[in-house]
């Protein structure tokens, strides 16, 4: 989905940034958004610093959007793990190159 939406917006997404935030995302403000997630979930830096940077570059509404998306996926990830919703084999086959590139196959439990 991220790849498709980036193409739709004519962004030159580097998908490796999702697993390595030091890589430029190619999405406007993208690395700031990754910093926000890391600050919230891994305590990598003071939240006030990344808040100020997002407000300055993307605007206050963007900060609220980012926070709510993070909140939404705190829920969705839990629903996925607790329900055990299976990942269709055809999806894994289709995205095998990407899965290997990002080393996320280890997250598939079912």
């Amino acid at each position: 989905m991220l790849r498709a939406s980036s193409i739709a917006f004519d962004y030159s997404l580097d998908i490796d940034a999702v697993v390595n935030p030091l890589v430029p995302t190619g999405v406007p403000g993208g690395n700031l958004l990754l910093r926000l997630v890391d600050a919230v979930l891994a305590d990598t830096e003071p939240l006030a610093d990344v808040h100020a940077a997002i407000i300055d570059e993307l605007g206050p509404e963007a900060l609220v959007d980012a926070a709510s998306v993070l909140g939404n996926f705190e829920m969705m990830n839990r629903v996925a793990e607790a329900s055990g919703i299976p990942i269709p084999a055809q999806s894994i086959d289709r995205d095998r190159v990407l899965i290997d590139q990002l080393d996320i196959g280890r997250f598939i439990k079912y």
């Binding site: 989905m1 991220l2 498709a4 939406s5 739709a8 917006f9 997404l13 940034a17 999702v18 697993v19 935030p21 995302t25 999405v27 406007p28 958004l33 926000l36 997630v37 890391d38 919230v40 979930l41 891994a42 939240l47 006030a48 100020a52 993307l58 605007g59 206050p60 509404e61 963007a62 900060l63 609220v64 959007d65 980012a66 926070a67 709510s68 998306v69 993070l70 909140g71 939404n72 996926f73 705190e74 829920m75 969705m76 990830n77 839990r78 629903v79 996925a80 793990e81 607790a82 329900s83 055990g84 919703i85 299976p86 990942i87 996320i104 280890r106 997250f107 598939i108 439990k109 079912y110």
Partner: protein
């Protein structure tokens, strides 16, 4: 309610509205648990004491363990934990607990991302559990009985939980209709590619393939 005290920016009314609705949902009797028990489980999960408080709360220790793990350390939740709780206490109460903990994680996650104080949980409403549980569902290589469909129907065994869960998607992320547009964006705010960077990175932290 939902003033997001401490946040550096004002929060959209549609988010505050669904969070108020979620709080009302938590406070009401559920299908298998009273409002008192639901709120006690949520309080305990926030403090990571649901398992040790299970007897006081009035739930089984397996449910307390699941609530603690799901709120604090979702990576540790697996099929055996869920199925074990279901084997002892039944599927419906497991779905109810998973649902309210997942939704609380969502609301609290938004608050944490904004450096806002967590919203105090509501006072429970009186009344007996409703017993409103769907029939005819089955495990479809899942840990809990579900209808055929995507992740949005995972709590449909307990219809009011399923409805509350689905209520949160749109304002927090995108509605089903909005997801049909690859160039969706909030104006002002983030566009879809920016939102999907946040969702992807969040899933990486939670070690969730979804």
């Amino acid at each position: 309610m939902f003033s997001f005290a401490g946040a550096p920016v004002p929060v959209r009314a549609d988010l505050r509205f669904i969070y108020m609705a979620a709080w009302g949902h938590f406070a009401r009797p559920g299908a298998t648990l009273t409002g008192r028990t639901r709120i006690d489980v949520l309080h305990a999960a926030r403090r990571h004491v649901a398992e040790q408080s299970a007897q006081i709360i009035g739930i089984g220790p397996e449910l307390g363990r699941l609530a603690d793990a799901l709120y604090r350390d979702p990576i540790s939740v697996d099929g055996s934990m869920v199925r074990n709780a279901a084997a002892v206490h039944g599927d419906a109460v497991v779905v109810e607990v998973i649902s309210i903990i997942s939704m609380l994680s969502s609301v609290d996650g938004t608050h944490r991302a904004l450096a806002a104080e967590l919203e105090p949980l509501p006072e429970p409403e009186h009344g007996d559990p409703t017993g409103d549980v769907a029939t005819g569902l089955k495990r479809r290589r899942t840990h809990i009985p579900v209808p055929a469909g995507a992740i949005n129907v995972m709590f449909d065994l307990v219809p009011m939980e399923g409805a509350a869960f689905q209520m949160l998607f749109g304002p927090q992320y995108m509605t089903g209709w909005e997801m049909g547009f690859e160039r969706f964006g909030r104006t002002p705010g983030l566009n879809r590619a920016q939102m999907e960077l946040v969702s992807s990175r969040t899933s990486i932290h939670n070690e969730c393939f979804y």
